[in-house]
Amino acid sequence: MENLLTSAEVILDCLSDGVYVCDRERRIVYWSTSAQRITGWEPGDVVGRLCLEDVLCHEDKDGHRLCGEEHCPLHRSMVTGVTTTVPVIVFARGKDGRKIPMQVTAAPIRNESGDVVGGVETFRDVEPMLKDLERAKMIQAQTLEQDLPSDPRLRFSTFYLPHDIVGGDYYAVKQLDEDRYGFLLADMEGHGLAAALYAMQLGSVWNQHSQLLTHPPSFAAGVNKELVRIFGRVVTFATAICGVIDARSGKVSLTGAGGPSPLLIQANQAYEKIECPGPLFGVMEDIPYKEQMVELEPGDSLLLFSDGAFEIHNARDELLGVDGLAKILTNLDYPQKQLNMDELQEELLKFSNEIRLQDDITIMEVRFWCE
């Protein structure tokens, strides 16, 4: 009886989480009863096979295959010798072909000398949670979906690519009077659910303060004060760029709150970074914000973006940076050609040597045509 209660295998088989163990070559050597219950695969189907074979077929939310060298959570854990600290959500294929969303953690197994000899992965069926997240995604999309101004003198376009199912970026545009339009692009620190909830709050702060955008530093001060109150004792912040454009003249007034320097790209592809430094939103009350003026010529484009668009490292550990992003955009014939987010994402991925980008990406384009 006592032996039964302390038998590791009995305990593992009673867990609700699925558990499997691989050796260093990633050959599956143990497959728990709960793993069978969740996936339908029986031990006889999988034990002895490599976990990267067509058994589990781990994919990320966008359908990218993860069972390669560097993206497999278990392989990564064995190579780095580190237990995953944040569970990742992957989709695995069940025996009946169904894609099962799973929360996965992985840990290396060491021998007495401390060498990694294998790894253990635990997984939990998160289908019910995922349904909730999908609803959250829909709600977030509704918050961000707004009619962009229709004005023959200028064009606003927005592009949004969340890293997780929901993201921490927020953007909005509002017509302030006959000729002026206020805009904001903000990025909550972090990503995932917590950042998404704060991003929703940014939406209500925007609604309360957007009329102040006729003078962006006043708007920024109001938003900052409100976010300091909302964040309370939680240490977090948002970075942002906000501004107002006058459609008669192309004059833009910008205020930065730690957001990346926007790019002014001319019709001939010459570009410049518009530096507008400013204190992060939500850290300290009563900090003044400054105003940076810039004048758009007809055909010029002003691009605002979250840091996910350029804080990307390649295989040599080099950072893409804002200049690198500008070069990619001009190679894509921007601004002659309309910005295509799929093409841009492909180029960013090529640079990064990753199968998926590591942060939310939002881009807001303000294209000025004149009357």
């Binding site: 990346p260 204190p279 992060l280 900090i287």
Partner: protein, 110 residues
């Protein structure tokens, strides 16, 4: 992430090495908050070997600083490489935390 820790009287000098990003922020956070929890009120964050800082890294620095402020202590940053300097300029981190050119200059802040 490797973090070198040195003491100069009652000042702790922390030198994180490499990148402070999504993969390393948590271990750096634990180290920094442990130093504060052990009663250190004065910290210099020597960034001479810091190659990159993500927004998550910035949050960790802020969290450490806020804990120290609660204890009426002080955190000073120093020896920023160009890219890190740019990040701190854009976010105007110097409105929250003093930034010095060198460790010697940072020591004078206390």
């Amino acid at each position: 992430m490797k973090i070198v820790e040195k003491r100069e009287n009652d000042i702790c000098i922390l030198t994180p090495i490499g990148r402070l990003d999504v993969n390393t922020s948590e271990s750096f956070r634990e180290h920094l908050l442990q130093v504060v929890a052990d009663g250190t009120k004065n910290i210099i964050l020597d960034c001479q070997s810091l190659d990159y800082i993500s927004s998550g890294g910035l949050r960790v620095v802020l969290e450490g600083a806020k804990r120290i402020w609660q204890m009426e202590g002080k955190m000073v940053l120093c020896s920023l490489k160009d890219y890190i300097k740019e990040v701190f300029e854009v976010t105007q981190f110097d409105s929250f935390l003093p930034i010095a050119e060198t460790v010697e200059e940072a020591l004078k802040e206390f």
